[in-house]
């Protein structure tokens, strides 16, 4: 499913970048001819509605249409040269363009380019008699679920069809014949809390993981009945507690929560939320210095809870970030104390012959991972930095300009910080940072190739982890780079040492966690050692997804 979503985004990007092709003479026209055929029998199909839609013209686009005759032939004469999408429709049939021989859009249409001075080749438009998957979607009590979305995805993930259940909870999805997994989901947003219906994507018959899906085989012109999906709703629990340390006056404050595993922030799994309070109203309700809260119901998992205050006037206050794990019951007594930011000091040492150019002194910024704040260090005469009003949260260090060939090591209260992620979630006051810039950074480049072919894989994600001993890697130290059109990736500013590396085809927020787990289990063995000032080259192959046990 993720790859589908990504594809969709990618197409949107392409659409935005595409320029109308005006290089052809304005009145240059072409005539397009072709045949619609039944892809199973190879016989021509009559009465097919063929449509060529002018492509990039969003404003004044035109569809050129035609119907196929008794021999399955159609003709669309004298249309402007340029880019088009082509599609075909006929009752009880589905257009199935050949994805190997032609470019097909996400919506199943052909991408076509007609040049002014060339006679276009005859188009062959394959159609197939549709199959229908019919059934019902039920809730956890067995009652029919209306307006549930039902998606049938072919087992090779090449084709899909979807529909919504009607007022009786029934659905009929039209698909090209083949084997499918059928997934039901129910999405509805509560206006008060922003939480979802609570149902998760459920595969027929009632599985939450794709592995538990029963495959449905369909045949042309036939209906598969009785596909009944019982939607799964995981139990949900509430978190309650108290916010203290309220400021004087009439101020608004907010309680926020977000899943610790950020991959759960998706279209369906939006489990982040907030509650707004007002200090004056809290006092009117008899609470002198505290406000009690109760979250909306949340499914099992780990969440970050924190309170913040006084946006739009007054001093900024924030509580520590409380990590709350829900397993099988409500959780009470979470205490969040609003405190002002604390003072953090930092020293910067240059080693290995590095010199900071006098006309361009180094500046140090703390970049908040959770929030938008970026406190900048105040530099004193001796070159030490002080950060005022640093609120609780996680931060990374940003150094500008970073001397050429330098890499950064950070110690927090004299302990080396792995991956440069500073944990101030319990408060930042009194934290002492020691930042070391060392000379001798290494570079690493290479080309990513396809899993089973010796050609470049464009735009793969390359993940790099410092290796500590054996297969020991830490996901917080994950660095990623995207390969370019030619599959070439590069990293620089790397500390010398041993690394683990891999390339993946798709992007997921959770990829660092998954990859680190796979490395620790010995599933990924690509390693590279970088000596000081190395210019290393390492070619990679993308992970073959079918053999990738690290995926869910």
């Amino acid at each position: 499913m993720k790859s589908y979503r990504l594809w969709f985004l990618f197409l949107i990007c392409l659409g935005a970048l595409a320029q109308p092709s005006h290089n052809a003479a304005p009145d240059a026209t072409v005539s397009v001819r072709g045949t619609a055929v039944d892809s199973r029998t190879g016989k021509p199909l009559s009465g097919v509605h063929v449509m060529l839609t002018e492509d990039p013209g969003l404003e004044s686009s035109i569809v050129y249409g035609a119907m196929t005759d008794a021999q399955g032939r159609f003709s669309i004469p004298d249309i402007p040269a340029g880019d088009y999408t082509g599609s075909a429709e006929k009752r009880d049939f589905i257009f199935v363009p050949d994805r190997k021989k032609s470019t097909v859009t996400w919506f199943g249409a052909l991408r076509l380019k007609f040049k002014a001075d060339e006679r276009p080749a005859d188009l062959v438009l394959p159609m197939v008699e549709r199959a229908i998957i019919a059934g019902r979607v039920l809730d956890e009590h067995g009652d029919p679920m209306i307006n549930a979305r039902v998606m049938a995805i072919s087992v090779d993930e090449a084709t899909a069809g979807f529909s919504y259940t009607n007022g009786r909870g029934e659905f009929r999805v039209s698909v090209p014949p083949g084997k499918y997994r059928v997934e039901g989901s129910k999405y509805s947003l509560s206006e008060t809390t922003g939480s979802t219906s609570g149902y998760v994507h459920t595969y027929y018959p009632s599985a939450t993981q794709i592995g538990g899906a029963t495959v449905v085989e369909t045949f042309a012109g036939r209906v598969v009945n009785g596909v009944e999906i019982k939607l799964v709703r995981p139990a949900a629990f509430q978190v309650s507690g108290e916010i203290t340390g309220l400021p004087q006056g009439d101020r608004s404050l907010t309680l926020c929560w977000t899943p610790a595993d950020s991959d759960r922030i998706g279209i369906e799994g939006w489990e982040s939320g907030r509650l707004d309070f007002n200090t004056r109203e809290a006092r009117a309700n008899g609470a002198a210095s505290s406000i009690s809260f109760s979250s909306s119901p949340l499914t099992a998992g780990t969440y970050y809870f924190y309170a913040e205050c006084c946006a739009g006037g007054g001093e900024e206050l924030r509580s520590r970030i409380a990590e709350v794990t829900l397993s099988d019951s409500d959780l009470q007594g979470i205490s969040l104390v609003l405190v002002p930011g604390g003072e953090v000091t930092a020293t910067v040492a240059l080693a290995g012959g590095l010199v900071s150019p006098p006309d361009q002194p180094i500046s140090v910024t703390l970049d908040s991972v959770n929030f938008t704040s970026r406190p900048q260090g105040e530099r004193d005469a001796s070159g030490n930095f002080t950060f005022h009003n640093v609120l609780p949260g996680h931060y990374r260090i940003d150094i500008s300009p970073l001397p050429e060939d330098a890499y950064i090591t950070v110690a927090l209260n004299n302990a080396i910080v792995r991956g440069g992620l500073l944990d101030f979630s319990g408060g930042a006051a009194g934290m002492k940072l020691k930042i070391m810039l060392k000379a001798g950074a290494a570079r690493l480049t290479g080309q990513v190739r396809k899993a089973k072919a010796d050609t470049a894989q464009p735009r793969a994600q390359v993940l790099l982890f410092p290796e500590h001993e054996g297969y020991s890697v830490d996901q917080v130290e994950c660095q990623s780079a995207e390969a370019n059109e030619n599959g070439v990736y590069s990293f620089k500013g790397l500390a010398p040492g041993h690394y683990r590396i891999l390339a993946r085809n798709d992007y997921s927020r959770k990829q660092c966690d998954q990859a680190a787990a796979a490395i620790r289990r010995g599933l990924i063995v690509e390693a590279v050692e970088l000596k000081p000032r190395a210019r290393a080259v390492k070619d990679l192959r993308v992970e073959d997804e079918a053999n990738d046990e690290s995926r869910p």
Binding site: M51, S60, S61, I62, V63, Y64, G65, A66, F74, S75, I76, P77, R91, D92, D139, H141, D143, I146, N147, S163, Y164, N166, G167, R168, G169, R172, S174, S190, E191, T192, S195, Q238, T244, G245, L246, P247, L275, D276, F277, N278, E281, N285, G286, A288, S289, S294, S295, S296, P297, E315, L317, V337, L338, V339, P340, G341, G342, E343, H388, N389
Partner: protein, 525 residues
């Protein structure tokens, strides 16, 4: 600067710790309250299990989830350990509508006092009504991918026909619904050069009408399924065309044709011409807009012939200075207490929706006030707050004069003055709204002014306990009177929805000084 925050923080922490012991002692005002109740099937009165009951707490003017529970087999629920405060209760179960579901954002408040025990909260849930059926073509063949909407006074939902042409719309509440079937259609025009003809259907109302006034409402019943067949009609052959007058720097121009549920966009060619084809009969707002904020719009009622040569001339919205004639203003001031009249002037547009945004201003002591950004169109003008029998007799803008409270704002300067003449002998309409058992109190009665086929709500009044209502100070003219069903407020008051109530709508004509009695029946649910 950098020390101040820390001091403030210490002070707050101290405050918090001083406050803590007080909270630990079981103070009377901290004693938790409890809520108990039951959910039932409103048709059978039987207890209903699996109903999700949510208690929402009102904080800072907003409701947020406070506690949830689920009814047991006996339909009962309990919520204990509740802090004192302002709450609302809601009930939800798949397959049922909560009978007392309030309007969004306006739930009734349940105040909970410390230590209180609230018992016997009754939550009644009504099983969904379903309207289902088939959509067929003229030759009886099923039509796929048709969106069928059911809209009634208290519910509006839709469904799509499947490969057999069948649909089933759920979620509905009991009551009359209009059914509208819209075929899936590309917004992009299709050009055919091979001689074949595109067969397209038009939007069709049950049982087979192109416009809402020919539709027959269908009764939906809770827990039951009502079955209908809709025969799609061919697309209308009617067109609306014309041109737009604009300056060169207004380009690009766009035109749109809007009815109460759909907006079609069109293009303007180099000569300023536009055309909309396949327009079903009905009422439309046709408007042209330029990037420069200039616009023009007009209302069009399409019946059985195409409408051509509509001229739209772009100009900026008007700032209107309303001025009561001197003599009238003096008389009004003399009639009000202490000579301080608190009088409003209101412009109600005749539009696609019964209650469109109106322009209002409060008259200053010199009898004038200003309305900013009034767009072109026709309006009904009313005075309110002054003596009750006064109405707007005539209006003058420059050389143009208007009568019977109807005003047209057209092109011209950006600032215009309208001189208002008032008359003391407005008509009066009164009567009683009757239900099955006599007069019904608390019903909203609407008075709609008519301008051709367009209407505007000019006044609304709630009936008193005996069901009586009265409107005073009505300008001479044609009006409609309608007593809304109490559930009506869930929907946008579009002209189409009023078709549901056409049997209980009364048309009246009011002359100066008339006293008309008109009893009304309340609209069906």
């Amino acid at each position: 600067m950098n020390h101040a925050p820390r001091l403030c923080g210490v002070a707050l922490l101290l405050l918090a710790s001083v406050g803590a012991p007080a909270q630990d002692s079981p103070a009377e005002d901290k004693k938790p309250a409890s809520l108990y109740g039951m959910a039932t099937n409103s048709l059978t009165g039987e207890p209903l299990a699996h109903v999700e009951v949510e208690l929402r707490r009102k904080i800072s003017g907003r409701f947020s989830s406070y506690r949830r529970t689920v009814t047991g087999r006996d339909g009962r629920f309990s919520l204990i350990g509740i802090e004192a405060g302002s709450y609302s209760v809601s009930a939800d179960r798949n397959g049922y509508n909560w009978v007392d579901d309030p309007l969004p954002g306006e739930p009734p408040i349940l105040p909970v006092k410390p230590g209180e025990e609230i018992k016997d909260i009754l939550l009644q849930l009504e099983p969904y009504a379903i309207i289902s059926g088939r959509v067929v073509s003229a030759d009886g063949a099923p039509v796929e991918h048709v969106t069928v909407e059911a809209f009634g006074h208290s519910s509006w939902f839709s469904g799509e026909t499947d490969d057999r042409g069948e649909f089933a719309i759920g979620y509905l509440r009991s009551g009359l619904h209009l059914l509208r079937a819209s075929p899936r259609r590309s917004e992009i025009p299709e050009v055919r050069k091979d001689g074949s003809v595109e067969l397209s259907y038009g939007v069709t109302y049950f049982p087979g009408a192109l416009a809402a006034n020919g539709a027959v409402p269908v009764m939906a019943r809770a827990g039951q399924e009502t079955n209908v067949e809709i025969k799609m009609l061919p697309e209308s052959k009617l067109q609306i065309s014309g041109d737009v007058v604009a300056d060169v720097d207004d380009a690009p121009l766009s035109v749109s044709l809007e009815n109460s549920w759909h907006t079609r966009r069109g293009t303007v060619d180099k000569k300023g011409r536009f055309i909309f084809t396949g327009v079903p009969p009905g009422r439309y707002r046709l408007s042209a807009e330029a990037r420069s904020d200039k616009s023009d719009s007009t209302h069009v009622a399409l019946t059985n012939a195409s409408i051509e040569r509509i001229h739209l001339a772009l100009s900026a919205p008007v700032d209107l200075i309303a001025q009561i004639r001197d003599a009238d203003w003096k008389r009004i001031k003399a009639l009000t207490e202490n000579g301080t009249a608190d009088v409003d002037i209101t412009l109600k547009p005749f539009g696609l929706f019964i209650s469109e945004d109106s322009h209002t201003c409060k008259l200053s002591p010199d009898g004038s006030c200003k309305m900013m950004g009034v767009t072109h169109g026709r309006y009904h003008v009313r005075v309110s707050g002054g003596p009750k029998t006064y109405y707007v007799r005539s209006l003058e803008i420059g050389e143009r004069e208007f009568h019977d409270s109807i005003l047209e704002i057209g092109g011209g300067p950006v600032q215009q003055q309208v001189l208002i003449e008032l008359a003391p002998n407005g008509g009066e309409v009164s009567g009683i709204v009757r239900g099955e058992k006599g007069g019904v109190g608390g019903v909203l009665v609407l008075l709609l002014a008519q301008d051709g086929s367009f209407s505007a709500v000019v006044a609304g009044a709630h009936t008193s306990e005996d069901g009586s209502y009265v409107f005073q100070g009505i300008a001479p003219g044609k009006y409609k009177l309608l007593a809304l069903n109490k559930n009506h407020s869930r929907l946008i008051l579009s002209d189409e929805v009023f078709e549901l109530d056409r049997n209980v709508t009364e048309e009246i004509e009011v002359g100066a000084g008339d006293r008309i009695t008109q009893d009304l029946r309340m609209g069906e649910q």
